[in-house]
Symmetry: C2
Subunit: 346 residues, 2 copies
């Protein structure tokens, strides 16, 4: 399994607009040319895919820069741990059939074998940076294609299990933090605008505007009939627009509601540094407010990177993996409080 | 008018059981023998009472150890200020007829002229201390009686406007802080028990168990047919019983719910030290929790006396008097937050 600490490089809070855009992700869906799609694949077909991909990763040198894990090796807790770290999908860890997972050491690359498609792999990088994410994932894509051979139609492009992925098989997304738009109550309008141009917007934890911590994932809806560069351009432009709205909202808040925002930020920071019992939900909300405070220069005792990493490390499985103990409630909430306090009070 | 700072000596948090019993008060109701009772008194009758009492206080030396204020000199804000400091009744400041108020410099003695009775005066002392309070109020009583002459019936005792005060005209009360009983949900039972033995229990801010900050005032219901010592004994015994219950509740909390209590206390303290906007209601609740934390030894950066004084100084008129400015909302809540922060962070 992966070590609990350090967390993925994508949480470094580096790169463009990293006060608003936490990370950029480009994911590709691919299927092997000579194996039935997952819905029709036999157990031995699936085992063959895992073996083929593992061999390809080994041969291409990727394996020595990361780890390959069979899903049979994974406990339910470890699956949740990977999910909390954005390395697998919920679907991946639920399945009982043979699956595999490759994760690069810095957690920039994740490759799931036998999820909805034979191959689903992404590059996840810090900040607003589609060129880097696309570059990383393309290199892996080319390498794998030359080794395993993809199901491809000259008419449709890459063939995938779900029609929405046919074509480029690409999903381009950003994870954005939009507390300014939520506080100024403009978020609904902005999200509606995004959906209007065929983007999908989802709360990172929960749906709609009720999302915990005001984190949102924005990605393209369709891939068929669009080239990679068209998709990247659409998502890039929209993200730039949303980032711009969020900047304006923050400027408005600082100009017109400075004391209210400072009150919110200082209270959240104080609670994180003093609570003795802390649920992961409350921790996420408080850390998210502190993240805004750091971005606005209200708090400077802590940096964006530390706050972003804590947002992952306070999650139940990451916390327990880091502490090296299984913890029941209420002890888990107590240990979380201690961990957060010690991370912030220095 | 009185200075905003220092506050009354009764907030010193000295005396017996001062972690639970904030203060002890003995109040006497008296009427002059040769003047109609307030409901029947003419304007000139009332003026005569004020003059007579002021003269008696001057003659007996009390006046040079305190201040005499005509209610006509009082603005509405100053009246509220006195009410917040427990020096007058709501009824006193509402009246438009001629009234007077004497307050000793340390705010131990307050004497209202022409409230419901010609004279209503109390001694208010820190902690659980009926002997001291009774001693102070008795001395003033004897002195005034010898100078002004009281309405007295050998059958009923001292005559008062309301029948519940006839007899000794005495009300003995304590102001107690019962967070332990509220948190263990035993408060209802204890309060019902107190009412059963003819005591009156009122929340300091609000009725019943919904009282802000868990402060309660316990006093005797009747005076007729009971001697001073009987009244004091009843209230003393009941208070001792309630104090005992509160001690046991706190022991239970510390033994069984230590982390939950610490969480509550540290969070409250942190919010007081970090908020940028603070209403008086929230300030009272947070200070009350911190008061419990100080009593339990969870917090030692601040003492009971400071917390008790802040509980008065955060009230709207006391705050504004202390800052020397009239402040509208939201500015008042901002200045309150600054004041509390500066009082607690050193």
């Amino acid at each position: 399994m992966l070590a609990a600490n350090p967390v993925g490089k994508w949480l470094a809070a580096t790169g463009m607009e990293s006060d608003i855009v936490i990370s950029t992700r480009v994911r590709l869906a691919r299927n092997l040319v000579d194996v039935p799609f997952i819905v029709k694949a036999s157990a031995s077909d699936q085992a063959r895919v895992v073996d083929t991909v593992r061999w390809a990763l080994q041969d291409s040198g990727y394996l020595k820069r990361g780890k390959f894990i069979d899903n049979e090796q994974l406990t339910e807790e470890q699956g949740q741990f990977l999910l909390e770290r954005h390395l697998v999908s919920p679907d991946f860890i639920e399945a009982k059939t043979k699956r595999g997972l490759y994760v690069s050491r810095d957690e920039t690359i994740s490759l799931m074998v036998n999820e909805e498609d034979h191959l689903r792999f992404h590059a996840l990088v810090s900040g607003f940076d589609f060129p880097s994410a696309f570059d990383v994932v393309s290199k892996l894509d080319e390498r794998l294609e030359s080794q395993v051979g993809y199901a491809f139609s000259s008419k449709f492009g890459f063939l995938t299990a779900c029609p929405t992925n046919v074509g480029t098989g690409m999903r381009a997304s950003v994870l954005v933090h939009l507390p300014g738009l939520v506080l100024t109550k403009e978020i609904e309008k902005v999200l509606r605008g995004a959906v209007h141009i065929d983007l999908v917007v989802r709360g990172l934890y929960g749906e709609g505007t009720e999302t915990k911590g005001n984190f949102f994932q924005i990605s393209n809806q369709k891939t068929l009939g669009r080239s990679e560069s068209e998709i990247l351009e659409t998502v890039t432009d929209s993200t730039r627009q949303i980032v711009d709205y969020e900047h304006k909202a923050r400027e408005y808040l600082i100009k017109n509601l400075r004391v209210e925002i400072e009150d919110k930020v200082f209270r959240s920071f104080a609670l994180l540094k003093s609570a003795r019992i802390l649920s992961s939900d409350e921790a996420i909300n408080l850390l998210a407010t502190v993240r805004l405070g750091v971005s606005l220069g209200i708090i400077n005792q802590v940096n964006l990177s530390r706050v972003s990493k804590l947002l992952i490390l306070v999650l139940p499985e990451n916390l327990q993996a880091m502490l090296g103990e299984r913890l029941k409630l209420p002890e888990r909430d107590e240990r979380r409080a201690t961990f957060v306090r010690e991370s912030l009070v220095r």
